[in-house]
């Protein structure tokens, strides 16, 4: 059982990470090269895993961890796909 105090702190941490994601969106829009954008999105993805884990504890729903696990396993796929595409465009995959 998470005490309300701990839960509030965790929610605040989740909020801070989401704020960080908002800041990263600037890099997604501005980012001079595609690589900047890819890395920004990859950071948002890692952020997502953390936020989901924090929410899982704060809201006391262990089932949310399953989703965090999916992102942890699959998130790199997206970034690598786009990175490969920028290395040799058209010739990926």
């Amino acid at each position: 059982m998470t005490s309300p105090w701990v839960s509030d702190v965790l929610l605040a941490a989740a909020g801070a990470f989401i704020l960080y994601a908002v800041v990263l969106l600037y890099r997604v829009v501005a980012g001079p090269t595609m690589q900047d954008r890819v890395i920004a999105v990859n950071v948002v993805g890692t952020n997502t895993v953390v936020v989901l884990a924090l929410l899982s504890v704060a809201l006391e729903e262990t089932s949310f961890l399953d989703i965090a696990l999916v992102y942890a396993l699959l998130n790199f796929l997206m970034s690598i796909a786009i990175s490969k595409f920028t290395v040799e465009r058209g010739g990926v995959i």
Binding site: L11, A12, A14, G15, I18, L19, A21, V22, L24, L25, V28, V29, A30, M34, R37, V38, A40, V41, V44, G45, N47, T48, V51, L52, L55, L59, E61, S63, F64, D66, I67, V70, Y71, L74, N75, L77, M78, A81, I82, F85, T86, R89, G90, G91, V92, I93
Partner: protein
Amino acid sequence: MAPTPVEAGLLVVILGSALATAVLRDVLGSIIAFSAYSLGVAMLWVVLRAPDVGLTEAAVGAGVMTILLLLTIAKTVRPSEDRVLASFDPKTLVLVAAFVLALGATVPALPAVGSPDAPVVSSEVSQYYLDHAYKDTGVENVVTAVLAAYRGFDTLGEAVVVFTAGVAVVAVLKREVTA
């Protein structure tokens, strides 16, 4: 009920990345912004207590969708990268503004977010599923129970739709026999 900071932040992430998707001129940039959008949406599903939908969005958004889009632009060309942002289309914008205003006019009529008196939440149907699912099917996850048992026939039809999509792609990309 005012939005919690987490909800408000997530909505900002989602709307911001959706806007980024729209304004980036390069298709690849648009796809990257779309994957950020998908990440935000998955977090929002979790906040709205829908882990099943979040799981689907996670698997689909992180892997399948981005790669299908990338494959398509790998097969086709991309516009040159002379400008970062897409040109503005004032005519469409006027149309969209009218559309948004028309839809926005309906928003005050909707129930407040999270209100227990909202029609969907307080409806008999929802309550019936929640009360009877475990007794009827022995499955704790009500979403699964509704999906496979109460609305099993719908799900069969839905599987048919997915299958049809596969057939349609075969039909579109098939080499035709012209002889």
